[in-house]
């Protein structure tokens, strides 16, 4: 490897433009004749829309149009879809109500759009929106999912009686019951996984530009997967056929899953741009982000774990209620099922598992994938259970985990997933050593003398990443394949463009993907550029989520590189009058091995394009593409241990130490990996201590601004102590597992386990606010 190859801590190429304000985000784009959209949103959680009077607004300065949900229906624009079909235990398909992009008749959550004002400026659109009179008839609303499933609760959709979307099961119920029947000990736990608002730094935005002459749309949007957006907009929403719709996702300021989905606003912008004959821009503000970006998590779970007399786990029963909000978002159905319950075996040998998941409609913002998506909920549940079990069985929590670890691979769990490799002891050992686990009791005693309650908490997480083998997800109901594509273009002068279907919105692909090229060809990364985020440039792609871009996207690039290198070697061999088998690539040159004969990459590239002297029958050019479909998920895993102190006077938590020992397989750029882990840990700690999207009983959001919704800040989190233990992933040639979500998946349980250890009480819900912790300490 060169200094910029695989494993090098290369400074991110893209940061120069980001930190000097030269990024190009959707809102930075201004088109000639562009109009501005402002949505009129429901202030009610549940209401009939009896009428919309826009006559006064239409007379106001700069107003181009006021468009309503009814017009959307009249123009036969399709409803939003959910792309993953889940079947209930009785064999029936999931039950879904229609989700129109603007509500023609009924609004079902605060913030749902009913109309849009198109005007010459954003402020003129806002002014006119205040003059639009919407006649609502309020209906009873239900925001709490336990209330929503009770008899007599307000009903959201006639298609889903009892507000139930599905009642899904996985695992072997009989075998699990049998295990519990012979259990020596049973550990029970109720947990709530709190609802979160994703809060990417850049709010969502869209610009739609309709070209009437070509009958062609261009959509600039804040998307993690522009090709999927085009596919869905074309195939289901009746916007335009794919060749008449270009989707561009330029620089995007964070996603965390929330920008995977197709939202009403970009659909309406496209439709409106054709209606008004001018480009339409919408940029959401932070309030709209809180009200309309798909939320995350929101589970209520009862779980029981059965142990034999030797403290070996013999069975696990889980029943989870998952809140979907008012509508089924694009991939929402898969999150509490195939992305959650398939990970319930954790790092442990559990011979029998049975899980049931009930999906529930409520009058709240729709819920979908958010960093980790189902896997944080599974990991939190299992790791809280293990901690509870250790306390109940009176054994050391780390040793209880160790004695139940899976140590033989591959390992088939009872819940679909087959773990390919791992070394759970290695990461547990590394984390225990890093935090001086053995020395904790002495530190706890010393803290007690100082009036502080000190606790330690372990979390051994596993996740399924590298999403995903198309055949596997297809068999589980996914409406898309989850391969990735890549194209390598060697220019005539030897510089290289990599086109990828992955999308970078903070992950650093413009650096890491170049490092693979640098590794293989021995050229500096400055000679390589990454092209992504434009359906007219990149042939197709599935985008970035589920820690898939390196494991799947980079492998596709590798496959395309191998094809390109093979052709380049033929050209080099021809030029050097050598055998193709003797050509090796080193330091940007094609060399005849064992000789001093060599031809530089630019000369090979030039030969490919001048085409004067190519091997007989060879096509000119040097450009190859590849599609890569993984054969299995990847399984990043690790141990996080958190040591903290609780102030008994205020209930406030202060971190003493936080260690993370992760196994991500091969690391391309350790610095970027560390950044990903830091961010994930902060989000996990945010969930554990601070963040909670709350509604009152009538469905009014209580936390729709940063004045109420507590985001973690730098002084809320500790400096992290990171390390890596590595087992290479056998499922892809680079041995990569993925690192984007681990921190958010594993951190929450470590924090809550540590606080409950500190205060000596096992029941504590997230977020563990000082008030909640103080009340728990002082509860009878």
């Amino acid at each position: 490897m060169g200094v910029e190859g695989i494993g090098a801590r290369v400074v991110r190429k893209e940061d120069k433009r980001f930190i000097t304000g030269k990024g190009r985000y959707v809102d930075d784009i201004k088109l000639t004749g562009m109009t501005h959209a402002h949505f009129i949103r429901s202030p009610h959680a549940h209401a009939k829309v009896k009428g919309i009077d826009s006559s006064a607004a239409l007379k106001m300065p700069g107003v181009v149009a006021v468009l309503t949900g009814k017009q959307l229906v009249d123009d036969k624009v399709g409803n939003l879809i959910c792309g993953w079909a889940i079947t209930s235990k009785d064999g029936s398909p999931m039950k879904m109500g229609a989700w129109p992009a603007m509500a023609p008749e009924t609004v079902r959550f605060v913030g749902q759009a009913v109309a849009v004002v198109i005007a010459e400026s954003k402020n003129l659109a806002r002014d006119a929106a205040e003059a639009v009179v919407v006649d609502y008839e309020e209906l009873p609303a239900v925001a709490d999912m336990q209330a929503a499933i009770k008899a007599g609760a307000p009903q959201l959709h006639p298609e889903a009686p009892g507000n139930q979307v599905y009642d899904w099961v996985i695992g072997d119920e009989g075998a699990t019951d049998a295990a519990f029947a012979k259990a020596a000990n049973v550990v029970k736990l109720d947990v709530t996984n709190n609802r979160l608002a994703p809060n990417a730094m850049e709010p969502r935005a869209a610009i739609a530009d309709y070209d009437a002459a070509e009958e062609h749309f261009t959509l600039y949007t804040t998307s993690q997967n522009p090709h999927v957006a085009r596919l869905v907009l074309s195939a289901f929403y009746n916007i335009a056929p794919e060749h008449k719709l270009r989707v561009i996702a330029p620089d995007v300021g964070g996603g965390f899953g929330s920008k995977i989905f197709i939202y009403p606003e970009e659909m309406v912008a496209l439709w409106a741009s054709k209606k008004v004959g001018r480009p339409v821009k919408w940029t959401g503000d932070r309030t709209e982000a809180f009200l309309t970006d798909a939320h995350g998590r929101d589970h209520i779970t009862h779980a029981e774990m059965a142990f034999d007399a030797n403290n070996k786990i013999i069975g696990l029963k889980v029943k989870t209620y998952a809140n979907f909000g008012a509508y089924m978002s694009l991939f929402s159905s898969s999150v509490p099922t195939y992305l959650y319950a398939t990970l319930l075996s954790g790092q442990y040998n559990i011979p029998a598992i049975h899980a049931e998941v009930v999906g529930v409609y409520t009058n709240t913002t729709p819920v979908d994938a958010y960093r980790g998506a189902g896997r944080p909920e599974a990991s939190y549940l299992i790791e809280r259970l293990m901690e509870t079990a250790a306390r109940q069985l009176k054994v050391d929590p780390a040793e209880l985990r160790r004695s139940n670890f899976i140590t033989q691979f591959p390992h088939q769990t009872p819940v679909i997933m087959a773990y390919d490799t791992g070394d759970f002891n290695a990461s547990l050992d590394a984390a225990m050593k890093a935090i001086d686990y053995a020395g904790f009791p002495a530190r706890k005693a010393k803290a007690k003398a100082d009036g502080k309650l000190r606790g330690i908490g372990v979390s051994c997480y596993i996740e399924a990443c590298g999403i995903a083998p198309s055949k596997a997800v297809g068999s589980l109901g996914a409406g898309v394949g989850l391969w990735e594509s890549a194209e390598v273009r060697v220019n005539p002068v030897g510089t290289i463009e990599i086109l990828t279907g992955s999308h970078s919105h903070g992950q650093g692909h413009e650096t890491t993907f170049c490092q693979l090229v640098a590794e293989r060809l021995g050229i500096p990364i400055s000679q390589v550029s990454i092209v992504h985020g434009d359906t007219d440039k990149v042939q197709f792609g599935m985008g970035t989520y589920g820690s898939r871009s390196a494991a799947v996207g980079l492998t596709a690039i590798l496959k395309a590189m191998e094809k390109m290198e093979s052709k380049a070697k033929k050209i080099a061999a021809h030029a050097l009058e050598a055998s193709e088998a003797d050509i090796v690539i080193e330091n940007g040159e094609f060399k005849v091995t064992g000789t001093d004969k060599a031809i530089a990459l630019p000369m090979v590239a030039l030969a490919a394009y001048t085409a004067h002297n190519l091997p007989d029958g060879m096509e000119p050019g040097l450009k190859e593409s590849a599609f890569y479909d993984p054969t299995n998920f990847t399984f990043p895993a690790g141990t996080y241990i958190c040591e903290l102190e609780v102030d008994p006077g205020t209930g406030k938590t202060s971190f003493v130490n936080f260690v993370a020992a992760d196994d991500f397989g091969r690391l391309i750029n350790p610095m970027i990996v560390e950044g990903q882990v830091h961010g994930g840990l902060v989000q996990g700690i945010g969930q554990a201590l601070l963040e909670h999207a709350i509604y009152d009983a009538n469905g009014q959001p209580v936390t729709a601004s940063f004045m109420d919704y507590a985001m973690p800040r730098a002084d809320d989190v500790p400096s992290f102590n990171l390390s890596h233990t590595t087992t290479l992933c056998p499922g892809n040639p680079l041995g990569i597992k993925g690192c984007g979500e681990a921190g958010a998946i594993g951190a929450s349980a470590a924090v809550i386990n540590a606080i409950t250890d500190a205060i000596g009480k096992n029941t504590l819900e997230m977020p563990a606010t000082p008030d909640r912790v103080w009340r728990t300490i002082h509860a009878a």
């Binding site: 002014d127 006077g649 205020t650 109420d708 000082p770 009340r775």
Partner: protein, 266 residues
């Protein structure tokens, strides 16, 4: 934001005159409350009269046993002022935990007390220290100035020019930060005057805004030490309750923050 007319006043008299000529004017100090409220379209003043650049409203003076902070002095300038640090270090500390750096560079003491947010820090300092609010018309004691949530004794168009603090024998401030907004979830300012009087004020706690805490004052008057408060009971009745703190929690915080403020007082 709705259309508004911005005026930069160069003197207090000019600001008063501009105010008189406008239909619905608002004075702008540091803008840390008014501007977000205007952006949310919850306020729509016809005219905004900026007091921030008026020279006579800037600066700190220490004269004998009185520390005077002019109304448009920013938190940052207060936090770093040598006289403040020497005379009443508890005020320098209070500004150091007020908001974040961006807020501290813009926000002003006059703006804070004129707004009288029930969770703002400065009202507690004024009340506990027995400060006097100087306006373009009169002097108002802190006890008479704060009238409940977002309400003060100021009349329409009246401008705060300065706040005078008698230098105490000892004073301390401790706050539990609101985890989202960083206002005071509850903050307590304790002061012992040079004549031995004890005054304690709590912010962020009461439904009626900043308040004196007589039970703690009595305990500290008898014995100026954190342990003197051990047996004081603070009632949760009338205290604020929200998602970040129940009334019972805030009652506990009044006591705990008071103890820590006494421990930190100098």
């Amino acid at each position: 934001m709705y259309q508004t007319t911005y005026h930069r006043a160069s003197s207090v008299d000019e600001a008063v005159s501009l105010f008189g000529k406008s239909s619905e004017a608002k004075f702008l100090a540091g803008g840390q409350t008014l501007l977000p409220v205007m952006k949310q379209r919850l306020a729509a003043p016809s005219d905004v009269i900026d007091l921030g650049k008026i020279k006579e409203l800037q600066g700190v003076e220490l004269s004998g046993d009185v520390l005077t902070i002019k109304a448009a002095t920013t938190y940052y300038d207060i936090m770093t002022n040598a006289d403040v640090k020497k005379a009443i270090p508890a005020i320098a500390y209070l500004t150091s935990v007020l908001g974040d750096p961006a807020v501290r560079y813009r926000g002003t003491i006059g703006g804070s007390i004129a707004n009288n947010d029930p969770a703002a820090d400065f009202p507690a300092a004024l009340l506990a220290l027995g400060a006097t609010v100087k306006t373009n018309k009169r002097s108002i004691s802190a006890d008479d100035f704060f009238k409940g949530l977002f309400t003060t004794a100021l009349e329409d168009g009246e401008i705060i020019t300065a706040v005078s603090f008698p230098v105490p024998a000892k004073a301390g401030y401790e706050k539990m930060r609101h985890p989202a907004s960083r206002f005071a979830l509850t903050g307590v300012f304790v002061a012992q005057t040079k004549s031995g009087e004890v005054r304690v004020a709590a912010t962020g706690a009461s439904q009626s805004g900043v308040m004196r805490v007589p039970a703690i004052e009595a305990a500290l008057k008898a014995n100026w030490s954190p342990s003197a408060i051990d047996n004081v009971t603070i009632s949760a009745s009338g205290l604020l309750a929200d998602i970040h703190g129940t009334a019972e929690y805030r009652a506990n915080l009044v006591k705990v923050m008071a103890q820590r403020a006494v421990a930190a007082a100098r």
